[in-house]
Point group: C2
Chain length 457, copies 2
């Protein structure tokens, strides 16, 4: 083994850190389909979007031709606080598995938000501040995105209002407390603060909320208040753009040591991590400069790519957001109580959906007890206690490494380790106690859910 | 500002990582007083200690003359999994404070145990494995040490039995679950598993346990079982030896960039972090090669250095462990429910006690609401959400930086950031809700507690 040659952890020097984000869409022949106005079903205009999102972010959202977008100096400085993230050679895991494969992971969990979400949170907060806004609103389910946004806003002294799905607010008080530490206001959703919240509370008095409902409340809170805009942590093109920092750093670190991955694996909920990780590699593939296998890993309970349809759909349950063309299970799909909260979204980023539809990427879905077993196996040899979301990628990386053990192939496997599971110990407890279920929706359930798709000509 | 010159984070290369621990006692003219046999009050022998501790660790415990002890390769490999720890230049904090001081911190929280405890856990587990033992036992209060030991044992496939103070076991189920993830057995203490546990349960049926009681149970569990030894995460000389990796890495990183600290600050409970951080710097001071100010920061509720007496005392409530000469509040001292669980110990490492008694180090104690206010201020600008223990050092580092602002001095301040507070959000919640109290023991309370000191001639 070349333990001497490749270090356990590769950290770029500050001077080697990327200075621009990479916009994958610029290299796509088949561009992702445009967002549509939910009322007229016509491509949404910048003016329309600017009521909801910051001006500069709207520009980024709609720009599908500029390959590199410079990262403003203030964001670069913030990145230096917790980046570069290490690219880790999983020597211990390889040895434990007895595989000839070489396994690498890009670890994004070394910051208080506990995940890669901070990469886009600081960008979105920066542009809001730059526009002279007072604050931003958002929703959060599991809490990673809300935490990341709170941190970014606290740094820039911007007001941050988070609508947190009520069941998470109650079951994850510690996440809520982290957000309060960073000065955010956290409201359990549905709430009495918004018209849509009051309406839902009236219709479903005992509801514990949903991500779709929290999005609708956050959008209303932003658009009905002077000096506020709404921000979102996944799905959008702008988010994939900011998250390209993950892939760019990974590629720079690999290039530095002459490493070339054969297969690149990431968990996929809305697509923020996977899209960011694969961006520069997929760019090479699109330009015909190199070839890689890409695998999106989804929970079996919410398999938008592997079992969804490619169609225009609502992004939120309240149907106030633009329509996006994506692989979707239908906005009416109710994901089961899978513990990977960050992967419980009915749709997938338009960019990733298009790449998948073009056959440039694979997708698999895995049941959650297998995911937690892989998580525990990983934790015990690599030390890091992974987030349930990230563990989806671990599961498939281990599967691929075991295939190499059978065939004797010395493949290089790269996966994204998006974050840590410190706030997910309740889920680990269920796993340890053998109380975790593996719900998989039947075809009939999905067929019913597809009926909620809008009729777009 | 020289932002261009000194990076935000200094990571040593793997090749620059220390290959040997530094044994500070070798350079001390006044050696720390020897451990005494609790029955005979005579210096304890290696043979006696070997019933409780591993052979090689006993050797390290008693060795006060060898300056450098090589780190075995297996431990070096494990260190590479989560080390080198970054030395961070707190540019953002400096700017926020408007101080001319240059602030650095060594961050030990980037591993799942969440603190520096892993540095000694892997060493102690390694020597147990090397001796052919089946397993180790220990106690844990807040849970950092128990987690660290679980991780180390899981890596080495060694059985790990943790006695966790019952109140923590119940109030910190997530810490317990992390240990279970790493395959440790975790028993709430006092338990029915040991004679001492049964005795205590009979005498105090409703007790929620204490660290002193958990130590006694863990020692009994080790000494009454074939192939087991007891391990301890702080106070001992061997622990300070292993933790010297903190200071050695810090010094190497500073030397690389020509940085020289004026003042070095660390939180102090049993002394594991502070002793490790200051070791190589104190060595220079002892050898007359350089001068530094050292400040130990204690909780006002448990001020062993600042308000204790320097005397031989019991290390545990059960009085089964050797006697140590140390600054102590008396083994009968009941620390209040301060949220920095890791600092709630009645005594202080013999080595640090001797240095303090020789006037080579200062000590201050701070109330916990001030500590949490500093923690929050730090989190908002530096991103990292610190552990309550570490925040004691932050509080005094900020105080020192503010003095520089008054005087205009451009001092270089170094402090140890021992860990993260992800499992301490209940304490943060109390702080946010204004429900945190600042108990400070009266002189009368301390005088009463000193009566529990043994009569050693």
């Amino acid at each position: 083994m070349s333990k001497e040659k490749i270090p356990y952890k590769i950290y770029l020097e500050e001077s080697e850190m990327p200075k621009a984000w990479y916009n994958l869409r610029a290299d796509m022949k088949n561009k992702p389909a445009p967002l549509l106005n939910p009322s007229t079903h016509k491509p949404i205009t910048a003016e329309e979007l600017e009521h909801v999102f910051c001006k500069e972010l709207v520009k980024q959202e709609l720009d599908d031709h500029t390959p590199y977008i410079p990262i403003p100096q203030d964001i670069l400085d913030f990145y230096k606080m917790y980046r570069p993230a290490p690219l880790v050679r999983a020597y211990c895991l390889e040895e434990k598995l007895g595989t000839p494969a070489k396994i690498y992971y890009k670890f994004e969990g070394n910051n208080t938000s506990g995940s890669h979400k901070l990469n886009s949170a600081i960008a979105q907060a920066y542009y809001a501040k730059h526009q002279g806004l007072k604050g931003v609103t958002t929703e959060t389910g599991a809490g990673q995105w809300g935490t990341a946004l709170s941190m970014a806003c606290s740094y820039l002294e911007l007001d941050c209002r988070v609508y947190m799905v009520k069941v998470s607010y109650e079951q994850k008080p510690f996440r809520r407390e982290v957000m309060r530490t960073y000065g955010a206001s956290v409201t359990p959703s549905p709430s009495n603060q918004t018209a849509v919240g009051r309406k839902i509370l009236q219709e479903h008095p005992g509801t514990t909320g949903s991500l779709g409902c929290a999005i609708s409340e956050a959008v209303e809170a932003a658009t009905s208040r002077e000096g506020y805009r709404y921000v979102l942590g996944s799905v959008l093109n702008q988010v994939l753009l900011h998250q390209s920092i993950i892939g760019l750093e990974t590629k720079a670190a690999m290039d530095k040591y002459g490493i070339r991955p054969d297969v690149i694996i990431g968990c996929a909920g809305g697509g923020s991590n996977l899209g960011g990780l694969i961006s520069p590699f997929m760019g090479e593939k699109l330009r015909g400069e190199a070839d890689y296998r890409f695998i999106a890993v989804e929970p079996a309970s919410c398999p938008s790519l592997s079992r969804g349809v490619y169609a225009y759909d609502y992004c939120d349950t309240g149907k106030v957001c633009p329509l996006a063309k994506m692989y979707t299970l239908g906005s009416g799909f109710i994901p089961s109580a899978n513990h990977a909260g960050g992967l419980r979204y009915h749709g997938m980023s338009s960019t990733l959906s298009q790449l998948y539809d073009d056959g440039l990427m694979e997708a698999v879905s895995v049941p959650q007890t297998d995911v937690f077993a892989a998580a525990e196996q990983f934790a015990r040899v690599e030390g890091i206690l992974p987030a349930p979301e990230s563990s989806h990628a671990i599961k498939v990386a281990i599967d691929e490494a075991m295939k190499c053990k059978e065939t004797g192939e010395e493949k290089t496997i790269l996966f994204g380790l998006t974050g840590t599971g410190y706030f997910d110990m309740y889920a680990y407890e269920k796993f340890h106690d053998g109380k975790m279920d593996d719900y998989i929706p039947t075809d009939a359930v999905l067929a019913e859910s597809f009926k909620s798709l809008p009729d777009v000509k």
